[in-house]
């Protein structure tokens, strides 16, 4: 288990990292990648959208290009503080402090659940993915962006020590085990590292 998979440590880590997060983040997850990920979703008929682990609101900002309102959840008040700065507390985003693994939302609520840059901190990814399936309506779409497992041994060792990384086969296994159908993956990244992120989409069973 990586260092940040412990939630208390993740909270502590983010308390300090949140100050620089938006400056660090674009190196692995930028606007072009966000657009590519958003294109994988179906935004017809004003879907109700949840952003799990919204952090500073980078993904939320992209979602708001497609829908008028987004429901967002994060466990870190310090990360959320950055998001409040962008959207306000009473703007187009309904913010909640909460735990991805124990979502405070009723079953069959959302048409789309988006989560970017959060799965690597989930202690039990399959359990959290099941929670996401629970809050999705039948046929609803999930999209998760996480770090793709690196090719190089040295980077792998670092990756294993810090947080969860996974490849397409791992993602297939996790999403299928969580009960999703039509699971597909797209590897994304900036030109200098084109496979740094893995984006997975799937649907809750009808």
């Amino acid at each position: 288990m990586g260092i940040l998979e412990n939630k208390a440590r993740a909270r502590f880590f983010y308390k300090y990292l949140s100050r620089v997060y938006d400056r660090v983040n674009p190196f692995i997850w930028n606007e072009e990648m966000r657009t590519e990920a958003l294109d994988l979703l179906d935004f017809d008929d004003e879907p109700r959208v949840l952003d799990v682990g919204c952090g500073t609101g980078f993904g939320t900002e992209g979602l708001l290009e497609h829908v008028d309102r987004v429901v967002a959840l994060d466990q870190s008040p310090h990360q959320l503080q950055q998001a409040y700065g962008k959207f306000g507390k009473r703007g187009p985003v309904d913010f909640h402090l909460g735990d991805a693994e124990r979502l405070p939302f009723a079953s069959n609520t959302f048409d789309i659940v988006w989560s970017s840059g959060s799965i690597e901190y989930w202690p039990q990814p399959v359990r959290t993915l099941r929670e996401i399936r629970r809050v999705l309506v039948p046929g609803g779409q999930v999209l998760v962006v996480g770090p793709n497992y690196p090719d190089h041994t040295i980077t792998q060792k670092l990756a294993d020590a810090i947080m969860l990384f996974y490849d397409e086969a791992d993602a297939d296994r996790m999403f299928t085990k969580a009960g999703f159908e039509d699971v597909e993956h797209v590897l994304m990244g900036p030109s200098y590292d084109p496979e740094v992120a893995i984006t997975t989409v799937g649907r809750a069973p009808e």
């Binding site: 429901v71 507390k89 309904d94 402090l97 735990d99 405070p104 939302f105």
Partner: protein, 63 residues
């Protein structure tokens, strides 16, 4: 927090409905407490933001 969102919120622990107590504000709830109708766990709404973190994940808040 939009009062209308109460319909889609639930207790993160046992997924039962929440009841809003001591609400300040109408359509936009500024403060109050969300109480689980089953286990009685209480979740505060502060400055319009509901804190639905399970008790074991809440930060100690200064008095």
């Amino acid at each position: 927090m939009k009062e209308s969102l109460l319909d889609v919120l639930c207790c993160p622990l046992d997924k039962h409905d929440l009841e809003l107590e001591d609400a300040v504000g109408d359509d936009d709830v500024e403060s109050g407490t969300l109480v689980c109708t089953e286990c009685g766990e209480r979740y505060p709404i502060e400055d319009g933001i509901p804190n639905l973190l399970p008790p074991d994940m809440r930060e100690e808040t200064p008095a």
